[in-house]
């Protein structure tokens, strides 16, 4: 942690608000994520977790406030500047969203070729290396529909990495997976976390949070209720609302009334 407090801020949420029509989703969030940090964001459904990270790369527009990336304001960014920002931020979706008409290798190579301007040879060479890295070296010529959910999500992670991003955002990356496939995706995420790339992970995988997160941020109804290192978050001094959430996660059959 001492090392993290020394590293400079990479993502700074400044009184961030987001509402859809009159429905508030994010209600004033201030949060700083430092370079190299692995931050897990958790909270009950509807708490605004996904919206929060989708605001970072402009998939959702801010209603008020600002998000600084590397000290630069991103509020109101559009056009080429927004596209440039997005190339620096990898996003991994719950539903994988691999390009359905392209093979795994072509999925990974597409944006490096068409957005970054790499040659086909460079891009496909890098794709092959990345496929090896996520344990799918032999699956480069498969179409998404020919891959299991876990394999698709690993290709999606490789696709995000192909842009050499400074930040990786994960939106419930294992929530759409069958239980036996969650492990293979978490293993890839673990190796990324250990490589010290900045990661913001929305997830219910508390094992991942406990083991690999530098901080756990607990969101409820659009505000941050707790922001603590995992030992404190999961320990005796955690926020009461977070404790109730955790007990529901761990034993859904014995929910504490809320």
């Amino acid at each position: 942690m001492t090392q993290d407090t020394l590293s400079p801020p990479l993502i700074e949420f400044r009184s961030v608000h987001k509402h859809y029509g009159t429905v508030p989703v994010i209600r004033g969030i201030d949060l700083t994520i430092r370079r190299g940090e692995v931050v897990v964001i958790c909270g009950p459904s509807g708490s605004g977790k996904s919206t929060l990270i989708r605001l970072v790369n402009g998939l959702e527009r801010l209603s008020a406030g600002d998000i600084l990336i590397d000290g630069q304001s991103t509020a109101g960014l559009d056009g080429a500047a927004l596209r440039r920002l997005r190339t620096r931020i990898g996003f991994v979706f719950q539903q994988f969203n691999l390009y359905g008409h392209l093979t795994a290798a072509a999925n990974i190579a597409l944006a490096p070729r068409k957005v970054l301007g790499l040659t086909d040879a460079e891009a496909f060479r890098a794709a092959a290396t990345l496929l090896e890295r996520v344990g799918l070296g032999d699956k480069g010529d498969r179409y998404p529909s020919q891959l299991s959910g876990g394999q698709q999500q690993r290709v999606a992670i490789a696709r995000a990495l192909a842009m050499r991003p400074e930040i990786l955002l994960f939106d419930e990356p294992t929530s759409a997976l069958d239980p036996e496939m969650i492990g293979e995706v978490l293993a890839v995420m673990r190796s990324l976390a250990e490589s010290k790339i900045t990661m913001v992970v929305v997830t219910h995988e508390m094992g991942f949070a406990r083991e690999l997160a530098d901080r756990v941020v607990f969101l409820d109804e659009g505000v941050v209720l707790d922001d603590a290192p995992p030992e404190r978050f999961f320990g005796a001094t955690g926020h009461p609302r977070a404790k109730r959430f955790l007990s529901q996660l761990l034993s859904p059959l014995h929910q504490v009334g809320g």
Binding site: L59, R86, T87, I89, G100, H101, K114, V115, Y143, M163
Partner: protein, 263 residues
């Protein structure tokens, strides 16, 4: 009284020549209007999916205008009303003889009838083709676009590299249907005197009253054109090109024996 078919009144002499002329005319107007429809459909689709409210509104109006009015009325309008609004010099030029623009079987390509039919069929079909492809776009999960945007693609490059290849594969079969429709609807151009198959069949019927034989021959010609055109378009379809649907890939994984090559 027995019922006799007498093909000599259709498949010999002047009637045979008329049928050949009709076939060439139908083929020519179908090809010309298909090309025009393709070009116009690209432009219309561009407006329809533009990142601009005004452009989308204009496209919606064009679609409504040409999709929700009868094609026969549209062809009559282009021929009788719009043609008359052209500058006199242009009309004279179109009406003049153009020996270099005459197909075999004496089918002129530059005539008010041919141009009005081509334009009318082209515009009408473009609207339907653009809408088929737009439906193919809408069938894609919004996540496809979000994934592309999150990687730094812009509106148009996401469309071009990610969305359209998949939409075209989705929409390919119904789009082929629209081109076949265009061929069949060219029969309406008989109303403005374009000497295509239907026109010639009626000419034979009034010439020697061989109505059954004439209409049978005409129907067979349309059927032949439809089958050939349909198989041709499906053969160059997306399983040979880039975009493949998951159904097609599953079909590929199944043993051969059905599908487009087994028709």
């Amino acid at each position: 009284m027995g019922f006799h078919l007498d093909w000599s009144g259709v498949l010999a002499g002047a009637p045979l020549h008329w049928l050949v002329t009709g076939l060439v005319t139908t083929l020519a107007v179908t090809l010309a209007a298909s090309l025009l429809a393709t070009v116009l459909a690209v432009g219309l689709l561009g407006l329809r999916v533009a990142d601009n409210r005004l452009a989308r509104g204009a496209a919606r109006t064009i679609v409504a205008l040409f999709r929700d009015t009868p094609l026969l009325v549209q062809i009559l309008f282009w021929y009788f009303a719009a043609f008359g609004l052209l500058p006199g010099g242009v009309r004279d030029w179109i009406n003049a003889d153009h020996p270099w623009a005459v197909l075999p079987a004496n089918v002129p390509l530059i005539s008010p009838e041919f141009l009005a039919a081509t334009w009318g069929l082209g515009v009408f079909s473009a609207v339907f083709i653009a809408e088929e492809i737009r439906a193919g776009l809408q069938a894609l999960s919004p996540g496809q676009r979000e994934a592309a945007l999150s990687q730094g693609f812009g509106h148009w490059s996401a469309l071009y590299h990610v969305l359209l290849p998949q939409a075209l594969a989705n929409a390919y079969q119904p789009t082929v249907g629209q081109y076949l429709n265009l061929m069949k609807l060219s029969s309406l151009a008989t109303a403005i005197g374009l000497a295509e198959i239907t026109y010639q069949v009626r000419q034979i019927e009034s010439f020697n009253a061989h109505a059954v034989e004439a209409f049978a021959a005409g129907t067979l010609l349309y059927l032949l054109l439809g089958v050939v055109l349909g198989r041709l378009l499906l053969a160059i379809g997306p399983s040979g090109a880039g975009g493949r649907t998951s159904e097609e890939r599953q079909a590929d994984a199944r043993p051969a024996g059905e599908g487009r090559h087994g028709l």
